[in-house]
């Protein structure tokens, strides 16, 4: 891919950013909004992480030491909600804002004012959600999956605020997705056909369609809850002729595509990083696109594998088992492609590459446990135990979150114009890598041995590994402070970055100078 860059620097003096707070409040610039999203998600990552540490501190030893079971449930609920909706999703939207226009050669997102709105309603949503901690009766305490009727008839009064905040998050996600789709469909540089599009852009195009398809479903579910709580309906209340299982069908019809929303952009990021540091073109670009598309389509027909124990008919169990197993095929293709890209490459191990390789290995381990969970009879034993907790943390922490960290190290020279401190970056990687495995690997064993999830206290035979897991969690948590320090240090200064930044870099964003000017590609480049 080569590009012709028009000189656009002479525009800068009358199109630079405004000064002060208003720059951030009123901005319609995709780079500013990307930065806002990334900082917001980092703040949420630390808050959600602190809640995880409350959980791990309580589980350090058998017995109730630090919190009451009631507050423990609030912590595990908010930890899940904040990490999913506050940390991982906004981080990917931030990356999309920064990168999609630069990767397709567009001057900005297609709908810049809506872009501003979709960011600024997010802090409001999370302010509402977090304020529920201080309300009478406490914060939501029914798990991030908020199964009715625990979340309706039996829920604390703050649930209404929770519902409102989910509505706002949903609106933000839907607006963000529309923006991504419109930008990709209409603003690609001449010559950039769909199949030539970089994989991060592809992954986000698919993710955006998934979001538009399922966020309204989530909105529907919480609206029905609102009706059940305040307006006397009985959607999920068996005593009034309703159906508690219906809630789970609706929730997981949203929830399963949602988990792929949190992993598809990670696939895109990993592909870029592995090809760059292997100095070799990505193996199977076309098959990567097809694999992501099939994963996205399959994600709509596997939701009931979260519900194998609710008493579905045999035919449904068999269908959802087979469909779920099928997802291993396109996922396998992606892993094989990454390995084939590295094969006979010319590899170096800068921090982004370390995170990307750890992503491939640990995400694959999460994939294996996912395959085990798909086997319905075995799932009767795994379901709702720590085995499941280990599984989804393996795909979300060293999966999604490692990919976000890899992306930050990979593109931060482009964003700030400065190289990060490589030694500190590597230290951060190794601490996180050890921390994540010490935390989550023993949870496989705790789960298989029989400890259910969402338990504030446990039988004595689970004590050893819970203690190990808690130690790992504190190590992982502490090493993220180092990450914050590295990022701040890079923003303040450092070795100047070249436009290409990396020896093996490929793609339009590496053709513009570092840091990227406030306005880029005001005249579209030409892609051959």
């Amino acid at each position: 891919m080569s590009a012709v860059i028009e000189s656009h620097n002479h525009d800068d003096h009358h199109h630079g950013p405004a000064k002060g707070l208003t720059r951030w409040l009123y901005t319609t610039n995709h780079k500013d909004i990307g930065t806002l999203y990334l900082w917001f998600s980092f703040a949420m990552f630390l808050i959600g992480g602190a809640m995880a540490l409350v959980i791990r501190a309580e589980l350090f030893e058998p017995g109730m030491q630090i919190v009451e079971p009631e507050f423990y449930n609030q912590m595990l609920t908010l930890h899940g909600l904040i990490m999913v909706f506050g940390a991982v999703m906004p981080a990917f939207v931030g990356l999309a804002n920064w990168l999609v226009p630069m990767m397709v050669g567009a001057p900005d997102m297609a709908l810049p004012r809506m872009n501003n709105l979709s960011f600024w309603i997010l802090p409001v949503a999370f302010f509402i959600l977090l304020s529920s901690l201080f309300m009478e009766g406490g914060a939501p305490n029914f798990g991030w999956t908020f199964y009715a009727p625990l979340s309706t008839t039996y829920a604390p009064p703050s649930t209404t605020f929770f519902i409102f905040s989910v509505h706002i998050m949903g609106a933000s996600s839907i607006m963000g997705s529309i923006n991504v789709i419109v930008t990709i469909m209409n603003m690609r540089a001449p010559g950039m056909t769909l199949m030539k599009m970089p994989l991060f852009v592809w992954s986000w195009l698919i993710t955006a369609y998934l979001l538009i398809a399922v966020m309204p479903v989530l909105a529907g579910a919480v609206t029905m809850m609102l009706m059940d709580i305040h307006f006397g309906t009985s959607f999920f209340n068996a005593a009034g002729g309703g159906d508690p299982v219906l809630f789970q069908h609706i929730f997981w019809f949203f929830g399963h595509p949602e988990v792929y929303i949190m992993i598809l952009p990670a696939f895109g990021i990993t592909s870029h990083i592995i090809e760059t540091f292997s100095r070799k073109q990505l193996f199977g670009h076309t098959s990567m696109v097809w694999a992501m598309t099939s994963i996205a389509i399959l994600s709509f027909v596997v939701w009931a594998h979260h519900m194998f124990t609710v008493g579905l008919p045999l035919a449904a169990e068999l269908f959802f088992m087979w469909a779920t197993m099928l997802i291993a095929v396109p996922t396998g293709v992606k892993v094989f492609n990454w390995v084939a890209t590295m094969f006979k490459g010319s590899i170096t191990y800068e921090t982004p590459m370390l995170f990307a390789i750890a992503f491939v290995v640990l995400f694959t381990i999460g994939g294996f446990s996912g395959l085990m969970l798909a086997i319905t009879p075995a799932d009767f034993q795994y379901h709702d135990t720590y085995f499941v907790v280990a599984h989804f943390h393996y795909v979300l922490v060293p999966g999604s979150i490692f990919s976000i960290m890899a992306a930050v190290y990979f593109w931060i020279p482009k964003w700030t114009g400065n190289m990060y401190d490589e030694r500190l970056g590597k230290l951060h990687f190794w601490l996180s890598f050890v921390g994540v495995n010490v935390t989550f690997f023993p949870q496989h064993w705790i789960g298989l041995a029989g400890m259910p999830r969402r338990y504030p206290d446990y039988a004595l035979q689970f004590a050893d590994w819970n203690m190990v897991s808690s130690v790992g969690a504190f190590l992982f948590g502490a090493s993220q402070i180092l990450f914050l320090f590295i990022v701040l240090k890079t923003v303040m200064g450092g070795k100047k970055a070249t436009p290409a930044v990396w020896e093996g870099s490929r793609g339009l964003e590496w053709t513009i100078e570092s840091p990227a000017p406030y306005h880029t590609f005001t005249t579209p480049p030409k892609v051959n």
Binding site: G143, L150, P244, S287
Partner: protein
Amino acid sequence: MLKKATTSIKNKLFVTFITLFSGITSAAWDDFNMTKGVTAISKEVFELHMLIYWICVVIGIIVFSIMFYSMFAHTKKKNPNPSTFHENTKVELAWTVVPFLILVFMAIPASNTLTKIYDDSEGDINIQVVGYQWKWQYKYLEDDINFFSNLATDWDEINNLTPKGEFYLQEVDEAVVIPVGKRVRFLITANDVLHSWWMPDFAIKQDAIPGFINTAWTVVDEPGTYRGKCTELCGKNHGFMPVVVKVVSQDEYDAWVQGKKEEALKMAELTEKSWTVDELTQRGEGVYLKNCVACHQVNGQGIPGIFPNLAGSDIVLNNKARNVEILMEGVQGAAMQSFANQLSEVDMAAVITYTREAWGNAGNGDGEIVTPQDIVEYKKPKA
């Protein structure tokens, strides 16, 4: 004593590490792996688990070996000029088709076992299991036996005031009893929120859902005491409602059934007897500690905003009729459930009387007490 418990955990930690590093012995294996269980089905499920596990391990070793080989052999130093290949239809086809075939191979035994599990024909013994916040009720449909099973672990152990016993959080006041070798069918449902009845040794995990009845069955070949748990988040004491099943010989089972029936007769006699306030209060305290304390707390003051205060409450002090009604019917739209089926007439009367006498309530209200006859009266069909 707390310190002693900590030391013993540290010792255990040390021992576990030693076993881990000196090669995992079969004794330690149970701490790492799924239970094999004691039924034909649970053993089949265990085999499936091990099969899929080894498939994953083998695939993982192959893929990661190639990857780690590249990571060492194809560095910039050793291989400064990267190859340029970036697709290969044959290879790509192979790594799509081969995994698919492995999955088909795996799906066949899994589907077979699943079909066996889904046999919901009648059992020799049929037991209805009902989940409550936070206890299980068991009703033996043939023998008209009905009891609740509560956590037996003392809250002092949970709060680290006394040392934890061997079956910490895995013991109940009354276990389910079933005979060995008989087909037992469980009909599982819930009274309030979702619960899930899990008995790992039988490979049974079925959600208990209000308004639905799910079935599960088992034939257990080895007598013994088996321990399981609630596995669906059901509120604050989700971690404190274990399942215990005792599997006994047919003779022992028959004797147990006989004993339960005699117990029921004795209870009927108690209902007839005339009670003093002190007797009722004394009995009521026990009932309160077992059934009410989780929400309304030991001091009766509840949790502000969630669970109402009973100490000085106007209903408890002055409104006997409403007081009885709340316990018998529950409160619509709130966590307060009906205890009409959970408590005998005697216990119901005792616990209401207790709340009207405890925490300084005595002498502050109308002073009325509730007798078992009041409850019998309440239960009579109204004209």
